[in-house]
């Protein structure tokens, strides 16, 4: 039954103009950067900055839109003899697979085309982080959209969350560091940083790239505290938690929701 639901939804999503556009977006971005710079390592650095902005935004908006669009169809599915949890799992897996595939194909194809051999491990890390971020922000989108019945408010919350995590969070974080500069801040900094999946993604990639310019304060702390390899593993584990916890909350909301 899960397979039937998955295949139907994947089939439907693959025909979506959003998904096709999203795939092309990454392809065009990488091709354009390569065309200007002619250097694959510069492409990877630029790609890192772009995915940290684009993936959270698109995953949130796509996920929220998907839930609101399927509200009435969910009623039909829920009136069939299938457990609720299967409908949720089918929906979440299919959107995660389709958006991750779009990112993988769009970026992967272009990177392969431009000969990524020398930078294979960092390319794979970037692609993996992109997939983890996609799943994490889709789970957050599901949680928001199932919690909030009003479509406009749902989109508003999604955009607000994106702006907070991408821009405001670092500003507030820096203010706190400045305010408490006389105290040892390594551990609190690591904890506060773990509360932002975008920062975690940035740390994983910059630790792998070993780029001190992009690492920032927390990246440097991670490196000092854990070393590069362990820092990547710990950040990766926390990023996976950023998928599992919102997924669990979204699923709980779905199971209790009135349709």
């Amino acid at each position: 039954m899960l397979k039937t639901l998955l295949l139907q939804e994947i089939n439907d999503l693959l025909k979506s103009r959003w998904v096709i556009g999203y795939t092309l977006l990454f392809f065009i971005i990488i091709e354009s950067i390569y065309w200007f710079s002619g250097d694959i390592s510069k492409v990877l650095i630029s790609l890192t900055n772009i995915i940290l902005i684009v993936i959270p935004l698109v995953s949130l908006l796509f996920g929220i839109q998907h839930i609101y669009n399927r509200r009435e169809f969910n009623e039909i599915l829920l009136s069939q003899p299938i457990p609720r949890k299967l409908i949720f799992i089918g929906s979440f897996l299919s959107t995660s697979i389709v958006l991750s595939l779009a990112f993988l194909i769009g970026s992967g194809m272009s990177l392969l085309l431009r000969g990524v051999k020398g930078e294979l491990s960092i390319s794979l890390i970037i692609l993996l982080v992109g997939i983890l971020m996609t799943c994490s922000f889709l789970a957050l989108a599901y949680f928001i959209a199932y919690k909030q019945n009003d479509k406009a408010k749902g989109f508003g919350l999604g955009l607000m969350l994106w702006a907070i995590l991408l821009v405001l969070y670092d500003g507030i974080f820096m203010l706190l560091i400045y305010a408490f500069r006389d105290y040892p801040l390594e551990v609190p900094a690591i904890v506060i940083n773990s509360l932002n999946p975008i920062n975690l993604a940035r740390i994983i990639i910059t630790l792998k790239l070993d780029l001190s310019a992009m690492m920032g304060y927390t990246g440097a702390i991670y490196k000092k505290f854990f070393g590069s390899e362990l820092g990547i593993v710990i950040s990766g584990i926390i990023l996976v938690l950023w998928i599992l916890i919102p997924y669990y909350l979204a699923r709980l909301t779905f199971l209790k929701k009135d349709f």
């Binding site: 039937t4 639901l5 139907q8 979506s16 009623e75 829920l78 009136s79 009135d258």
Partner: protein
Amino acid sequence: MIDVININKSFGKKGVLRNINLQFHNHSINALLGHNGSGKTTLIKIILNLVKPDSGNIQINGKQIINEWQYRKDIGYMVQIANFPENLTPIKLFELITKIRNIEPANRDYLIEQLNISDELGKPLKNLSGGTKQKVNAVLALMFDLPILILDEPTAGLDPIASRTLKKILIQEKEKGKTIILTSHILSDIEQLSDYIHILNDGNIIFSGLKEKLMTNGDLEKAVSKLYLSFRNK
């Protein structure tokens, strides 16, 4: 028999259903009547477990169904708003639900022919008119020959010919021994189709019984108006 026992439901501070007790009778058409927002759709959705009641119980032929899902194998449901995934075609939609239910859609071809949608089966649902989507919705609910049918405003949005055809099909289904629950604002439809009428007013049942018991003077509209007026004056 579907027994609704002491059902209460609120959305926020607003009480939608208040201590509802009624019976939907087997082998007959049960009409649920009420103003917009009177709680008809909420009650139907509670029977399907789409909405969780705050308290109370539903029993189908003596079995409690709250928080269960297997019992839905016996229920065909026609939603009020037919909105399907854009790129799906009606035929793919029928195949999907057939795969999920894993039973033969015994009535599918008959319904497609009766509702005259053969030419629309291969078109994406986003390209179909509201009326055609409602016909697809009707096929989806009725195609499996299930013992219980729940239809939320089944004739809304249909042209007069399709509406007449659907009503004819519903009478045939009743004659086969089905238990049918339908909601409608169209009193002539209810008068024509129903055996039992249950009237909701602000979340309370104000009448539940045989149609003839309500229509003592033979006019449903007058009988319903009189009933509402008497409750408003109280």
